[in-house]
């Protein structure tokens, strides 16, 4: 069971700030982390490997500092890490990213399964996983909450808005996972120390034979026109007094706001 996990390094977005001129996320002074859903993807791959044998290869497309995210994946127990790092990939939208990752996977060669997080917490599109499956021409299961390998088939439980769906899918396939699928392990210190010294394979666009018109800004039909954080909620008001007073004040406040109650 050889699994490729695609991860993304994202800013810890508890407090997203956007540069009003470039519409890009301000990354200075913001800690970079592995996209949380991708940690679930790594954990899912490790569990499948631990139960069925094989190898887990983690792939990341990003700047040199994304190596940190890959080291975290190695510390969790992944066997190999590949960083696709090329200035030509800068500005890739989901179409270009899925193309580039498909080239990486093709260069890796044989695999049984690709696992991605359901979406990244910065862009929140959820398109790269499905896009990658389309590029590779393999079946896909999104929003998996459970994975089980039986008879060279993967049984995946999907979570949808108001129902679960159980699907059998032939391999190779691509799965995107939700947070509830597992609890990512904390890496042991022995692995942390080992991962620090581990070799991380670094590939460029040329290494994966990427067509430069399909990656980076040139390969990205999407233009982000404007990004802005949602307006902050006001502080609200706390009403004091006995029940009668508070209820009267609350009813008055609702009336004033002209909110339909029903």
């Amino acid at each position: 069971m050889n699994t490729v996990v695609c991860i993304k390094q994202v800013p810890e977005t508890t407090d997203v700030r956007v540069d009003p001129k470039t519409n890009a996320l301000i990354r200075e002074g913001v800690k970079s982390i592995i996209n949380p859903f991708d940690e679930n993807a790594i954990e899912a791959a490790l569990q499948l490997r631990d139960a069925n044998g094989g190898k887990v290869t983690v792939v990341c497309m990003g700047p040199p500092q994304a190596e940190e995210a890959l080291r975290h994946a190695l510390a969790m127990g992944a066997d190999e890490a590949i960083l696709l790092c090329d200035p030509a990939s800068r500005g890739s939208d989901t179409l270009a990213t899925s193309y580039t990752l498909a080239q990486v996977v093709r260069k890796i060669g044989e695999f049984d399964l690709i696992i991605c997080g359901k979406q990244a917490i910065d862009g929140d599109t959820g398109q790269v996983g499905p896009g990658l499956a389309e590029r590779l021409g393999i079946p896909q299961v999104t929003f998996a909450i459970g994975l089980e390998l039986a008879d060279k088939k993967l049984r995946a439980r999907r979570v949808l808005d108001d129902l679960f769906e159980v699907l059998d899918v032939r391999l190779p396939a691509l799965v995107t996972v939700v947070k509830q699928i597992n609890e990512p392990r904390f890496p042991g210190m022995r692995n942390v120390l080992k991962a620090k010294k581990a070799q991380i394979t670094r590939w460029t666009a040329a290494d994966i034979g990427a067509d430069l018109t399909q990656t980076g800004f040139d390969g990205s039909p999407t233009t982000v026109i404007k990004v802005w954080p949602p307006e902050r909620r006001g502080g609200g008001a706390i009403l004091h007094g006995d029940t009668d007073e508070v209820v009267t004040a609350l009813a008055g406040a609702i009336k004033e706001l002209n909110i339909a109650v029903g």
């Binding site: 904390f186 042991g188 210190m189 022995r190 942390v192 120390l193 620090k196």
Partner: protein, 382 residues
């Protein structure tokens, strides 16, 4: 003296901090209120390779230094004081085996301890031997290739849950400290039983049990160090134990400060956040300064230990200052929270109760002052 952490140390400390923030700290209240051994947390410490940080790699540890062990202890204690205490007490069994163990003892006992499959405990205190550690009356009578232990230890942290115990007994009580002898005793040895688990002011989930020895036969191979060398084993163990206690106190004090800071910014009185008042600012300034001073004293002791230099005086200073800092800082944190600080809605009242422990265990503040004064008056160390 350089406290810049190298890459390995930083990697370990960062990874531990992440575990603490995401896993340990959010469950700390629950861990405390459960009133039972935090098995899940202890299992995770083992999985994270944290139970044998200073143990050489050949015995299953990480082979890192006591400074790293201290920095990790601070993070654990800051996140969950109970779990930090288990970690600290564990080393009171691991360290004397590292230091005094024969090759056979190290091979047998250290790997499971370092990997956290076994938990360790250290048994010195008795009803009549607290600050006066030399008056241990647990008797060890020689009988051929065995010693027969009789007596009772009290307040033993990790007692009952630990598998491996370093026990200080006396082969000749009339000789006082010169009869004291250290033994490794395993849980399940006939004649070794557990008595009362103390109900304490804080730490309901941390076991502090009586160890009861009734004609407990221990083979002579289990003597740690040499016969009548137990006082030295105890003193050396307490030296490192004091570093552990000091850093636990620093972690706890930091937790209290880190709770007080956001509260003081958010709590509005007289139309302003209370953090804008000098009375509160001065408290915060003192808390932060004392915590830094306590940490630096502790790191100095750990660093000296790692350099193979004497550190007894420095460890006593660190333990004294850090535990009294924890008491002052947690008391101020409660004060900053005001009435809310006195309620169970916020953790600071627990921190204040927990802090008191540090002024008592592993040598009271008074004993630390005696140790320090002794050394200072003798003119030893710097």
């Amino acid at each position: 003296m350089d406290f810049t952490f190298n890459e390995d140390q930083s990697a370990v400390i960062d990874a531990v901090r992440e575990f603490c923030d995401e896993d340990l700290a959010p469950k700390a209240q629950e861990t405390d209120e459960a009133g039972r051994w935090p098995a899940e947390n202890v299992r995770k410490l083992a999985e994270l390779d944290l139970m044998g940080i200073p143990v050489p790699e050949e015995y299953g540890g990480l082979g890192m230094d006591f400074l790293t062990w201290s920095a990790v202890g601070e993070e654990l204690s800051r996140a969950c004081t109970t779990t930090g205490a288990v970690y600290g007490a564990h080393v009171l069994c691991v360290y004397p085996i590292m230091l005094f163990g024969t090759e056979a003892q190290k091979k047998k006992y250290l790997p499971p301890l370092a990997q956290g499959e076994h938990i360790g405990a250290f048994g010195l205190t008795e009803p009549g031997a607290g600050s006066d550690a030399g008056s241990v009356s647990t008797k060890a009578d020689k009988d051929g290739d065995h010693y027969i232990l009789n007596g009772t230890k009290i307040f033993i942290t990790n007692g009952g849950e630990a598998q491996t115990y370093v026990i200080i007994a006396n082969v000749d009580p009339s000789k006082g400290t010169r009869g004291m002898t250290a033994f490794i005793v395993e849980k399940g040895t006939p004649g070794f039983e557990f008595g009362k688990n103390e109900r304490k002011m804080a730490y309901p989930s941390l076991p502090n049990r009586e160890l009861v020895f009734t004609d407990c036969r221990v083979p002579k191979e289990n003597i740690l160090g040499r016969e009548r060398g137990g006082f030295l084993v105890a003193m050396r163990t307490l030296g490192v134990g004091r570093i552990g206690m000091a850093i636990g106190a620093v972690g706890l004090a930091r937790a209290a400060l880190e709770a007080a800071i956001p509260y003081s910014k958010q709590r509005v009185q007289f139309g302003k956040p209370i953090s804008s008042f000098q009375a509160i600012q001065f408290m915060i300034a003192d808390m932060a300064t004392e915590i830094d001073a306590a940490r630096l004293l502790t790191w100095r002791a750990a660093w000296l230990k790692d350099q193979g230099k004497p550190f007894e005086r420095e460890a006593a200073m660190a333990k004294l200052y850090a535990s009294e800092t924890a008491m002052r800082v947690t008391t101020k944190a409660v004060q900053i929270f005001g009435g809310y600080g006195y309620t169970k809605e916020f953790p600071v009242e627990r921190y204040m109760r927990e802090a008191k422990l540090f002024e008592i265990v592993e040598g009271t503040s008074e004993i630390q002052r005696l140790v320090i004064a002794n050394q200072v008056l003798r003119g030893s160390s710097e």
